[in-house]
């Protein structure tokens, strides 16, 4: 009996335990089932960004080029400033294909990290599990494997400006977007909290 009470208490505690990321926010009943990110959602736009990547104090720069090639898949090519491709990938919510990659970048850990980061940036559809709000913002929570994604949008325009990828207790990756028209992200910053990796993307008007 005592064990049952303890178990029940633990269960209640665990279930009601708020995520660190939405501390100070109020959980509300969710009307939305899906949150659609406006960024990288057009099938006719060539998304070309100047990219600066810093890894443990070292830096690598080039161009990040993305295009939506079907309903759920994006083609992503990373090139040097001179134009030669360093990697060519196809990324969907469930799919991941490496079309080509230079030897130096062809490492499991690099590919896994970039795959997860690019998915966060590119994904258009997020299936909502919970919804939170405060005075200015709404936060949509979706499940992503063993992690959760928290999508921060301002309340008025519903404009996405931040995604936090987190476990129940710890934030892992933060992606920030700035956009003047709400459709195209002019700057994107990806910051990892457990490794020293940062990616900065600046949109290039072609």
């Amino acid at each position: 009996m005592r064990l049952l009470i303890i178990s029940c208490l633990l269960l209640v505690t665990f279930a009601s335990c708020t995520f660190r990321t939405v501390k100070g926010f109020t959980k509300i009943s969710s009307e939305k089932k899906v949150y659609s990110s406006p960024y990288f959602s057009s099938a006719v736009t060539d998304y070309v960004y100047k990219a600066n990547i810093t890894v443990y104090g070292k830096s690598l720069s080039g161009l990040f080029i993305a295009k939506k090639i079907n309903d759920s898949t994006h083609r992503v090519v990373f090139t040097t400033e001179f134009g030669n491709s360093l990697m060519d990938l196809e990324i969907g919510p469930e799919s991941f294909k490496v079309n080509s990659i230079v030897e130096d970048l062809d490492k499991k850990i690099i590919l896994k990290t970039l795959k997860n980061d690019f998915r966060l940036i590119l994904a258009n559809k997020h299936f909502i599990r919970n919804e939170y709000e405060n005075g200015q913002e709404k936060v949509y929570q979706s499940k992503d494997g063993s992690r959760f994604n928290f999508l921060f949008a301002d309340k008025k325009a519903e404009q996405l400006h931040k995604i936090v990828r987190a476990s129940r207790f710890k934030e892992k990756v933060i992606v920030s977007f700035t956009s003047t028209n709400g459709q195209l992200a002019e700057t994107i910053y990806v910051k990892h909290k457990n490794i020293k990796l940062g990616i900065a993307l600046n949109y290039l008007k072609n």
Binding site: V44, D46, V48, K50, N52, K58, S59, L60, S61, G62, L63, I65, K67, I69, R75, V77, T79, T80, E81, F82, G83, N84, S85, L86, D88, N99, S100, V102, E103, D104, L105, L204, K205, N206
Partner: protein
């Protein structure tokens, strides 16, 4: 890793004003005369400055990615390749070092005895001095077209082959200098660089190569 990626990048653009292309094959006599003319011009080059426009073509994009800038070269081995649009990025070769200025963030890489660097350096200088028809490094074919004379180079080196399937250079028929370079990757995507406002042997101050 960084050095290698960097060198691959540089290699890509540096062939630029070196020289290759295609169409109607040159006869043996035409080939000889063409080589002599190009070598003759190249040997007299002590400095070179030019504007360039670069087009990156990827089949899945609706438009080529365009960038542009300036290039300065001074014998024997000073080189500044500088993008000014749509971003500021320059790479300077000086005293076995590569200096990069990426939107104001400066860095330097010591390439010392790096073999790939030596190859690139040889290609750059060779393309200016006339020592560029290197049959050891490339299988070269010579063509003529309305646009000008063209050479097509197929790399022999295994490392280079991985990144570049073919290089095409188009030469100006009157000046016998390179006016366009096309670097084709194994995927058939390519980078095309067009040179404009080329100035040969004008005084270039050493400050043009300051980091």
């Amino acid at each position: 890793m960084k050095i290698r990626l960097l060198l691959i990048g540089i290699l890509f653009c540096m062939h630029s004003w070196a020289g290759f292309a295609q169409e109607q094959k040159m006869t043996a006599a035409e080939m000889e005369s063409f080589k002599q003319k190009v070598n003759g011009v190249s040997k007299k080059i002590s400095t070179l400055s030019t504007d360039f426009v670069q087009f990156k073509h990827l089949d899945f994009l609706s438009k080529d990615i365009e960038s542009s800038g300036k290039m300065f070269f001074k014998q024997p081995n000073l080189l500044n390749w500088k993008y000014t649009k749509p971003y500021n990025y320059s790479i300077i070769f000086k005293n076995s070092k590569i200096y990069i200025n990426n939107e104001g963030n400066k860095s330097a890489v010591d390439v010392g005895n790096n073999k790939m660097f030596e190859k690139i350096n040889k290609l750059i200088v060779g393309s200016v001095s006339g020592d560029m028809f290197d049959e050891k490094e490339f299988t070269i074919s010579y063509f003529k077209s309305k646009e000008g004379s063209m050479t097509r180079l197929l790399p022999k080196d295994a490392t280079l082959k991985k990144y570049i399937k073919q290089i095409e250079l188009i030469f100006d028929n009157t000046e016998n200098t390179v006016k366009q370079v096309k670097l084709i990757e194994s995927s058939n995507d390519f980078t095309k660089i067009i040179f404009r406002n080329k100035i040969v042997n004008a005084k270039i101050d050493d400050a043009a190569f300051n980091h």
